[in-house]
Symmetry: C2
Subunit: 388 residues, 2 copies
DNA sequence: AACGTCTCCGCAAACGTTACCGATACTTTT
DNA sequence: AAAAGTATCGGTAACGTTTGCGGAGACGTT
């Protein structure tokens, strides 16, 4: 006999369909719907039982104390007698207790994790910056999660969203070449999460920035070429959407102007320098009627590509063609006559950004608009050294 | 007049000291201690208010629905009318709602994060593996957290502890050279968290392993030297605590034996090959009375160091000294006559481990004892090619 | 006796989500 | 009509911590 769970009547109970496989009833008297659920401690519920990891509560129960006591004992708080503390520690070790950082993070709403978004992994630049940042962060007890935007604005947006969702304590980011809207970045300031830009930065947003002296470095590199007697210097630059590319172009032009060398548009190429692209542009430059006698490339891999092509064509380096790159990749020291290049302090970039973000994590005001400029070093090797 | 909060008596209430700055009373009648706290909605409570991020509850309240409804709407569940769903989505966007992954993780007890512990970052090997794993993981919607054990067993332990605390869904690990106890790794199996070893593996524990065919690769490399007419081949190996080093040594010996070349202990050096160490060992080998006419090094950086030293000493490569390395670093293609080396499929190692761990994350049984062996490729360059 | 101080510990409210179980109001079938 | 089916929504217990606040003594001091 079915009994209404509300008014306890036994007659006047009508069936009223099924809900999720269970019979449902309607009591005529109190007009109350209810289902009469047979207990099912069948296989289902047993199978579903998850692997249990011992928690603070387990430790507390098996010791007959409260979980606050356990929590405080584990964290070395005051208000705990030495005996209980030791008992808790012993029991925790015995039960193989591992704290659940997730719960901790939730209640403290901080994760001890710094996020990092880089556009690519192909060049050695970003891995090295990661190494530098990693050093500082682990030293300070922080974790590092890395995401790759893959030079896509859309991916960058979803990356930042994921970072926000994961409640990282701070973000280090180097923009994609597509990024020209910065709303997704201002969200961090709104939430009080420090954000630091490095390498690929933008001025439209007031955050700390870590860059190198691109202008001076380029100026110096081109000046070095000129002082070595090169006249028709071409520039293989990056996409002008990036500030770094603009700065390096500016440095190139400034040096050319200073020494009265003509700046010719067809000697300047701006674009995303994949290896394939570098080959195409190199082909173009080396086949020009008025062939450049030097090339200042915006990264080492394309500079090396140029060098290899020149050697294939029988153009001698550095006598007929001077080459200067940017970044000082590992291979640049060993190739041909050695590639002259601008060494970037990659590790230090990592250090600086990481230290800065840690500093801001505990700061009151994270709205700072400061740019730290690290200095580069021109590494002169055979590819540009010729007697004048 | 003070009233007992238990028996409501007003007289017979005695002062009984202070607790945390508040007056405490004792009721004579019911023997009950209590404090009479003046409300303090002063500055304190206002200052303490943390920056509030809008939650599901905020969205629900401002829409007059329950949070279950909001949750379901946001996740595209069934049981939601199109209108409410849209209303929720709109309101969420308007209030700038960002889901709190921490809470999600806590209740689902899964983080969508794979951990990775590598011993070092200095060689290009591990960064490249990271790139490979990163590709696969992001593709599958997983995050990657990286830690560095810095070749220290203790750090490795604390890293694994941190990984457990952070409730990663799976771990990819390459051991330190010190690691010879594996209790910290068996914890993962106990907790049902898949763990995969790669490169630096151990056989004492039944987990999936991804390695390269070190034995065959070394054998082939040494055989190549022998076939090029080298006789007194030295081996600059890694620390024998690592299985990779053992395998490579085994390959070296097997090839020497096959061709009847004598294996001399003083021609075999095992140790951790930092750049400095490589110089010392190189010095030793090149100054031997019976100088080796070839060196098989366990990594490229020390092979290159040897090449540079030989060139300084005026020993010609490959005629007087053959050199073979391991890993195919970026610079190896460009140095001197080109460094013959064993190319490791670093990206593929990353792919394989990542795919494997993703597969095990959703698997019933994670206890597998399988070793996947990826194949290497001998890249022959000038440093070992001489006419016999 | 009355009050102050100190030590050790427990209660319960957060933190933000998800998901199970129902509840309500309909329409459709028997 | 009674029963069954469908669509939509709410209540609430988890998940595992931390922490503010206060209780219960013990002991010391007027």
């Amino acid at each position: 006999m079915i009994q209404c769970v509300k008014c306890a009547q036994v007659d006047g109970i009508m069936k009223a369909g099924y809900v999720r496989g269970k019979q449902r009833y309607l009591c005529k008297w109190c007009n109350y719907y209810f289902t009469h659920s047979e207990r099912d401690d069948s296989i289902q519920s047993l199978v579903k039982r998850k692997r249990h990891q011992t928690t603070i509560i387990d430790v507390a129960k098996s010791l007959g104390v409260s979980n606050s006591t356990v929590s405080r004992a584990l964290h070395g708080h005051a208000d705990i007698s030495p005996e209980t503390r030791q008992a808790v520690l012993d029991k925790a070790a015995q039960l193989d207790y591992q704290p659940n950082q997730l719960a901790y993070n939730l209640v403290k709403s901080r994760t001890n994790t710094i996020g990092m978004i880089v556009p690519e992994f192909q060049n050695q630049f970003f891995p090295n910056v990661i190494i530098g940042a990693h050093e500082v962060l682990t030293q300070a007890g922080y974790n590092l999660t890395i995401m790759q935007s893959n030079e896509s604005y859309q991916v960058e947006i979803s990356n930042t969203k994921a970072m926000l969702a994961n409640r990282i304590d701070g973000l280090l980011i180097s923009l994609t070449q597509e990024t020209n809207n910065f709303d997704h970045l201002s969200l961090f300031a709104k939430r009080g999460i420090p954000l630091i830009q490095f390498n690929r930065v933008c001025d439209q947003i007031d955050v700390p920035k870590v860059v190198v002296n691109d202008f001076e470095a380029s100026f110096q590199a081109v000046e070095h070429l000129i002082l070595n007697g090169y006249e028709r210097i071409a520039h293989l630059g990056g996409p002008l959407t990036l500030q770094v590319s603009q700065e390096r172009l500016r440095g190139y032009k400034a040096a050319m102007e200073k020494y009265g060398k003509p700046i010719k548009d067809h000697m300047i190429i701006q674009g995303m320098l994949t290896q394939q692209k570098a080959r195409i542009y190199g082909q173009y430059l080396l086949d020009l009627a008025e062939r450049p006698d030097a090339i200042f490339a915006v990264n080492d891999s394309s500079a090396i590509e140029i060098m290899l092509m020149a050697q294939e064509k029988g153009i001698s380096i550095p006598d007929e063609l001077g080459v200067v790159g940017f970044s000082d990749n590992a291979e640049s020291a060993y190739i041909g006559p050695g590639l002259t290049t601008v060494r970037q302090p990659t590790l230090q970039i990592g250090h600086t950004t990481a230290e800065w973000v840690l500093q801001l994590v505990d700061a009151e005001d994270i709205i700072v608009n400061e740019k730290r400029v690290l200095s580069t070093e021109l590494i002169v090797r055979g590819s540009s050294r010729r007697r004048v």
